[in-house]
Subunit: 429 residues, 2 copies
Amino acid sequence: MKSYPEMNKEELLEERAALQDAYKTEEAKGLSLNMARGKPGRSQLELAMPMLDVFNSHSDMNTLLGNDTRNYGDLDGIGECRRLMADMMEVEKDNVIVCGNSSLNIMYDTVARSMDFGVCGSTPWHKLENVKFLCPVPGYDRHFAITELFGIEMIPIAMNDNGPDMDQVEAYVNSDPAVKGIWCVPKYSNPTGISYSDEVVRRFAALKPAAEDFRIYWDNAYCIHHLYEDTQDTILNILEECTKAGNPDIVYIFASTSKISFPGSGVSAIAASEKNLDYILSKMTVQTIGHDKINQLRHVRFFKDIDGLKLHMKKHAELLRPKFEAVLTELDNELEGLGIGSWIKPRGGYFISFNALPGTAKRIVGMCKDLGVIMTGAGATYPYHNDPQDSNIRIAPSFPTPEEMSEAAKVFVLCVKLASVEKLLQDME
Amino acid sequence: MKSYPEMNKEELLEERAALQDAYKTEEAKGLSLNMARGKPGRSQLELAMPMLDVFNSHSDMNTLLGNDTRNYGDLDGIGECRRLMADMMEVEKDNVIVCGNSSLNIMYDTVARSMDFGVCGSTPWHKLENVKFLCPVPGYDRHFAITELFGIEMIPIAMNDNGPDMDQVEAYVNSDPAVKGIWCVPKYSNPTGISYSDEVVRRFAALKPAAEDFRIYWDNAYCIHHLYEDTQDTILNILEECTKAGNPDIVYIFASTSKISFPGSGVSAIAASEKNLDYILSKMTVQTIGHDKINQLRHVRFFKDIDGLKLHMKKHAELLRPKFEAVLTELDNELEGLGIGSWIKPRGGYFISFNALPGTAKRIVGMCKDLGVIMTGAGATYPYHNDPQDSNIRIAPSFPTPEEMSEAAKVFVLCVKLASVEKLLQDME
């Protein structure tokens, strides 16, 4: 078959007529499917249900050190949970604070704390004329929502197949003291699915920020969230690399078990240098007496150690793989060679990122909605919801069943085709 | 026996010699007791252990509305837990958001949000020259720590037996637009143990704040934390009174189950007008995807309803009463009539507030420490840790056993006596 951009007007009109028929057929089905958010499916949640068996009214609720998890104390988290999260985040236990149920909440608080009090003694950001964050795009909409809320200027940075464009990153960070941070999802990136290369990580670690309070916001959300056993991405340890480069304080690492145990009822953690953690704790001790230590202990008693976590994630992979493959099969079968979109096959994480013909993403997402398939809003992966190309669409295959996912993907490719034909016809006028 | 202030020098010297002997006897015991914090005792924690039986791997984890508590969603809390907390806080369900594990954290976030973004559209506080909070004294040290951290000027307000001095409160709030808040623990107040009278509550509700963004921070921490069945304090419903007075938006109410289920693993809530809650949610939706809903459901399944909560608190009262009475008995027996201290017998809450001779509180707490009994630091109940009289001491009887509490109280009264004699002798020089 000819690619769409190669077709002449007559061929496009013919194609459009066929697609419009298919569209009507789908319309009649009255679907109701949601692939908008990276929300685990029901079968994934079932995997963690035995976690609710680990405690009963006769359980020993003490930590290894003998602290009662049921009472106040252990602001930085119980020792064994710090160990578990440290192993998952590939850092030392002393570099980890275990917090509440949400790593997003830690990130928000970290930005808020910097606005209100500065970073390790620097000027509070709200006293500064300009505060800027670099935002690799496409990226995670909830990151951008935090910086937008605080009025921080967001500068888009191009994402390549091996991470953010480091020439751009270095140019900004090393010269502009208003640049205080960069949002990163270094492994199975949200939404592109790629992982940062060793060279990219090393260039991050070797940054020479113009601002003393610049930090890398390293959201390692998908650190053990592989889809396959044989082809797993690994990334260099950013804290280790920063330390080697003489920059131990320039990174905060975030992670959680939201997509391992239960979204909303997991544990989250931040890892950083001792200097950073001491500063964070000096404010956190006013904010709270401590986080939910019973839940921390519950996680440790259930997963036991990093091997337990990894084994559990294999089971997640088995459930997620068919859903990803349902989408990828549809994309391959229906769009390959048509010249109207590109995508990367991810080896982990929660998303497939699709780049449509410029100027069609909003239209595609709108058409999908009309057919009962909810996608992440077009533009959401860009700061201020502004995708200048109107091209990127994030597909989140985790929530529906594989059968539903296949159905939804059929709708998606249909809408991609129809919107593309319309756009090409329109460009001819 | 003569009161100390009536004694002449010779009598005081004689008394001092006897007390010094007693001090040495206590010193030899090498005690190690802690009555510093309002920390539940082990036996109280045991009461909530059956809560860990309510779920197992086969449990239905859906809310009454069919939402899966194990997944993302329900930012404002699950319906049945909002109902439970609303009943406890004596407000409507629609006026409650259930949050995470700490009401202190909600208060911190509420102040932080006001600093960063203002209150329902007002100017962010960090842009203002002056921001002031009224602080009834003695009060809760962790409240004062929050406002101190944010650089908010704290103005002490005298506490009477029926609440804060409302003449002072009205004078400040109704005239000074820099006054943005007041910290209140309206029931079984921390630390004085008194509850606000109906008149005080009504005068709060009828305030005419000079600042549109003034709010009453109503920390109803001990709303159902009675010590006795027959003599329980009740307070007027502040949200209702504010609404009646045409001031529905001037109050935030905070509460939690930290001292009902488990400190650190309970649920917390904020109650306020719809306008306030809408504003809070508009920022909270950026801060987190949601709180721990499994724990919310756990609380509902265990306590069932407000009657379940109240029944549970009866059991707490039975455990706490002997500890309070151990202290009060010692105070009555040993200090009554000596003219060197005053205290109120509380009917609920977690504290006994003791007013020593001016200029002796630090010395008393220091002596207790030397004898192995840790008290809340003198001055902690005042903004900036500054008790201008050096008189108030907070006693927290909940953590030790009744026997330990009796032992600790003996040490305390001894130190009160010795420090008072020393002070009186010193004043004669």
